[in-house]
Every structure is written in structure tokens, then in C-alpha cells.
Amino acid sequence: MSSESLNTGAMPDTLSYGEALRLAMRDALACRPDTIIMGQGVDDHKGTFGTTLGLAGEFGADRVFDTPLAEEGMTGIAIGAALNGLYPIMTHIRADFVLLAMNQIVNLAAKYRYMFGGCFEVPMMIRMVVGRSWGQGAQHSQSPQSLFAHIPGLIVVTPSSPRAILSTYAHAVRHVRNPILCIEHRLMYGLDFHMDEEMPADPLTSRRIRRGRDLTIVATSIMTLEAQRAARHLADFGIEAEIIDLHCVSHPDHDLIMDSVRRTGRLLVADTSWLPYGTAAEICRIVAERDPSALKAPVATLGMAPASCPTAKSLEDVFYPSLRDLVDRAARLVRGGNHGIPLPDERSMADVYKRFKGPF
């Protein structure tokens, strides 16, 4: 956790992902008078899954306000506001809708600073929620980190815990003068976490969240939790996985990844999106460009199946990699096909993080 003192009061021992987001939003408004939060429904009784609840009342309806349905326009408006002295935070209840604003994000927000030779800065935050389970279907389930991380000028994070949220968002609001895209995961919103995690001083990087000698798992977002579950299971059978939470997918810590792979010789990447041209590809690039000879086995990768997300639960359960898949792939990586390690039973992550059940 960074040294910032958040405007959040005393920190409890445990906190849910959603509560952390609300604290981060509150802190952003409290720490600078020029922060605004804009998004569809940010001031309604649901408050963006609770994360903006009460903030319009506390900080004023001119600082936390609803918007028309106009993703491209509102993103451009946020950019203009940032250019004239505000710190806008935009929210999207699904990351899929951010594709409507791709032009403003990629052609404008990402480029304004460079294109004008440093004359301008565009400090702003775009929050978006990745949907999963309960029949989100093809248009409410995408996780677009690689689309943004490909573009110079953007910072992209996929926080996997309240600690990561608090430190990253506080740091961004205070110190980052570029657009930052925060890709949050709906399935984590209701989960409680212990607050004893360490965070690096600069939270815009990757971090190791578990040490191990047998393989390296690089994970994003909720796959970090899955990796930890898999690691605990594997440990019962003598396999020690090291886990790196990629976190800042646009600016991962290459050294951290490489050092780990050099030690373990085995790499598994677990991402929330599709594999081609995704995070799995990028991690492979890092290793292949630096030192592929560090690999004692081919890299294993896990992500969404190469299709749109189906709605039927029976298909969704196989569309996403399960804990079973993760354990099996990790065990194979270390011990080969006949690894003999029993696979855990749960079929679907959504069943485990059960707090999320429709309608949305």
C-alpha cells in the first residue's frame, strides 16, 4: 500500500472489493476539489454496484452526476474537462460499452499529451466492470485490457484486491497525469479480503503475491484469485507455484516476471480475456525477447475459449477456464501428463464466488 494517507478513516481488517472501490471514489472526491465522477446511474439508489452510493449527496450533485447514454461523447467531455483543470472519473457498468468510446480513448485521450509535444495533459480515470456469469452473454462479458494496453499513452490496471484498488486509485488521482483505465471484475465486488497485503510504493506495476519454486503463474484480475486457489491445492501435493499479479497490464514488471521464470523454468499465464493478441501473448513476448532458454517447458496459457461468450450456463462453464483446468495445466507443466494430482471438484468460478447472482 502506498504511503498516501487516504481520506478514508481507519482501515478495517477486512474489506470487500466493492467497498474498497467506494472508499477509493470517496477519497478521490475528498482529496481534490476538482475531481468529478460521471457515469450512467452514478447517483441512483444502486450507485454503480454500491461504489458511488451516497457520494452525490455528500459531495454535491455537480460533482457526482448521471449522464445521458453517450459513451463516445461523454468520454470526449471528460477529456475536455481534464484539459481545463478537472480530474474526471468515468464509470461504465460493463467494459463492453467502452468500445463505443474507443475513438476518444485511443485517438484523443492517449495521444493528446504526445501529439502536442507535452503542451497538454489528460489526467482522468475510466472505470469499467467486466461481467461474468449469470448469463451475461456475448455483449456483457468482455475484458478489453489488451485493446487498450496496445496503445502508448494509456495506463491499464486490472486490480485484484481492495489493497490494490486503494493504493492504485489513490496514486492515480494524486500523481498520474495520463488517462488510466481501471478494469474491475464484477465477480469480486462482493468478496471480502484481508487487508494485510503488501503493495509496492508505486502501484503501477506488477507484484509477486506468492513465492514458489516450481512454476510461475502470471495472472490478471480475478484469475489472480483462481491462481491462489490452485496454488493452495497444488501445495498439498508438493508443487509450489509462484504467483505474479500482473496488475498494471500496460506496464508490467518485466524483470519480476523474468526473474521468476528463470528460477522456476515454467510459466503459466491466466488471463480473463481471449488468448490471441492478449495478455498471454504479451507475457510470452516478454520472455521470448529476453530469454526463452529460461523455459524448461512450453508456456501454458488459460483464457476464454475462442468464441463469443455463450449465455447458457453449461457452455459458460466450459467457456471460462475452471480451477480444475488451472490445476491440471499447472501440474502437467511441472510433472507431465501423468501428474497424478487429483483435480478439485468445482466446475465454475461463478459457483464459488457465489455472492453474485442476478439479475445483474
Partner: protein
């Protein structure tokens, strides 16, 4: 029978009758009430955006369309799917995520489709279906099919830039498109006043598109007649037209419940709507029709229940 709306007027035989529209509207209502009833059972594991209170729009409009007129819907499409003639069994199977669903379970409630009756799919990205209707109309004209294409969308959808782009092109090329806006006054929990500086009808008219605004969205006969007259002009090559039909969503935006306790709207308006709702008013007709419909619904649910889940071999079909 108390006639509250234009259904009292004498009816042209060539038109879909009031009774038949009541049947369709009741079917939709009962289907959605059944969905509410069983939602807790988790047989439907997906978001549901109910049309209860708005069924009449779908029924009235579809009563004046040709079966092969392509219509593009939204995530809130149970009503239009059924009004256009979509199969009930396949619908329940789709809601249940079964292999016998219209889309083999890949679509669910938000993405119903029934191409065999011109129901060309439902998109859950607001306003994204509007240009599809315009494109379908372009194709209809080029291919000489005589179809008119219908874009169905809510009041909120008119805020998206693509609405503007679509209506401009349709008007410019005088394409056979019917723009149908179901104005229920809300986008999720946001009232019109928090979102729109314009009046929807005025905006549409700025493109030179004839617009018709109908306050009484429960008046199926009125909707049918207005749509029929409009569709005839559009089909005859008169260019696109715009219908705004005011209506009222009785339930929460998504999910099976009500949410008048949430404070963003009170139930007074809804109660006023309910008082003129033909499905409330015409109790006798409703009572008469209900048993057969319930039986049909039970049969559809049984079909869905008995149907298999799509197996893993379906995961990668239909991609390319």
C-alpha cells in the same frame, strides 16, 4: 365489456382483431408473470428485462407488419419476440439455456431471435440495433423485397450518436424504415429530464422524418391503426417515419421485482396506466383466454425443462 380505448370502434375485417391482439398481449403478460414466478428457482440464469406494462406496443405494432418485415429488438424483447410470432417453446428453452432454444442456448433472454418470422435479433448494447434496421431497409429496397424494416428502441437509445447517424442516412435515402421508440420515461433509473435536452419527436422531425407521437401506449387498436397507416406509406416508398409511443414499465429495469420503494419514481403514474391497461380492464376476456394460454406456457416450460443443455461440443460452433 368496458371499452376504454379505440377498440370500441368498428373494426375493419382485414385487420388483426382486438380480441386477437388481447390474446397476444395476454400471452406475453402471462409468460412474463410466469418468469417472475419461477425466477427464484434459477431455471433462468440470466438477466431478464421484462416488458410488463409495455406489451401493447409490441402487439399493436406487429399486428400491422408483414411477417417478413425485419424487426430488430433490444435486451427487452420478450414482447416483440412473441408479438412478431416467435415460437414459445423455443423461447423458454432459450431462456433456460437449452440446446432446443432458438439460438441453442447461446443467446438467452437478452438476445432473442426468430428469423423465420422476421425477428432479426436483439442487441443488449443500447441503440446498436437501430442502424441494422436501416441497413436491412437498404437491402430490402435494393433486392425489391417489399419489406419495411423496423428498429425498436427505448427513449434512452435516442441519446446515442448512432441514432442520429442512422436516422440521417435513412431520411437521406428515403429508406423503408419504421423507427419505433418505446418511451417509458426511464433509462434504468434515470428520468428523461436528466438525460435529454430535446423532445424526441422534435428531434426526429428535424431530419424531415414524419413523426407521430402516441400518448396512450395501451391503446392497441390505435397503435395498430397508426402503424398500419404509417407502414403503408413507408412501404410505398414515402421514406422513413418515426413512431414514439409512450408507455410504462411496471417492473424494475432488470429482474423480476418492482422497485417503487427505491425512490426514483413513485407508483402513481404506474397505477394510472394500470387503470387503463386492457389486460386489467377486460377481465372477462382475460379470464376466458387465460386457461388455454397457461396450458400453452406450461407445455413450453415442460419442453424447455425436458430439453438437454448444449454440450461442450457446441462451444466452438457458429464462430466462423
Amino acid at each position: 365489456m368496458a371499452f376504454t380505448d379505440s377498440e370500441g370502434k368498428s373494426d375493419d375485417d382485414s385487420k388483426v382483431s382486438f380480441e386477437s391482439m388481447m390474446y397476444d398481449a395476454l400471452k406475453i403478460r402471462l409468460v412474463e408473470e410466469k418468469i417472475i414466478e419461477i425466477y427464484h428457482s434459477d431455471r433462468i440464469q440470466s438477466p431478464v428485462h421484462l416488458s410488463i406494462g409495455q406489451e401493447h406496443v409490441a402487439v399493436g405494432v406487429c399486428a400491422a407488419l408483414r411477417r417478413d418485415d425485419p424487426l430488430f429488438g433490444t435486451y427487452r424483447s420478450h414482447a416483440f419476440y412473441l408479438a412478431k410470432g416467435g415460437d414459445l417453446k423455443r423461447m423458454f428453452a432459450e431462456l433456460y439455456g437449452k440446446a432446443t432454444g432458438g439460438a441453442k442456448g447461446k443467446a438467452g433472454s437478452m438476445h432473442l431471435s426468430a428469423p423465420e418470422v422476421g425477428f432479426m435479433g436483439s442487441s443488449a448494447v443500447v441503440a446498436s440495433n437501430i442502424p441494422h434496421a436501416v441497413g436491412a431497409a437498404l437491402a430490402a429496397r435494393r433486392r425489391g423485397t417489399g419489406q419495411i424494416a423496423v428498429a425498436v428502441f427505448g427513449d434512452g437509445a435516442t441519446e446515442e450518436g448512432v441514432f442520429h447517424e442512422s436516422i440521417n442516412f435513412a431520411a437521406l435515402h428515403r429508406l423503408p424504415v419504421l423507427f419505433l421508440c418505446e418511451n417509458n420515461g426511464y433509462a434504468v433509473h434515470s428520468p428523461l429530464a436528466a438525460r435529454q435536452a430535446y423532445r424526441i419527436g422534435t428531434l426526429a422531425a428535424a431530419y424531415g422524418v414524419p413523426t407521430h407521437s402516441l400518448e396512450r401506449g395501451h391503446d392497441m387498436m390505435g397503435i395498430r391503426d397508426l402503424t398500419a397507416a404509417t407502414a403503408a406509406r413507408v412501404r410505398a416508398g414515402g421514406g422513413p417515419e418515426f413512431l414514439e409511443i409512450h408507455t410504462c414499465r411496471f417492473r424494475e429495469h432488470v429482474g423480476p421485482g418492482t422497485d417503487f420503494d427505491a425512490g426514483y419514481r413513485d407508483d402513481a403514474a404506474m397505477l394510472a396506466w394500470q387503470a387503463t391497461d386492457p389486460l386489467t380492464v377486460h377481465r372477462d376476456l382475460v379470464d376466458r383466454m387465460t386457461p388455454a394460454l397457461l396450458a400453452e406456457i406450461e407445455a413450453a416450460m415442460a419442453f424447455a425443462d425436458d430439453s438437454p443443455w448444449p454440450g461442450p461440443e457446441e462451444l466452438l460452433t457458429d464462430v466462423l
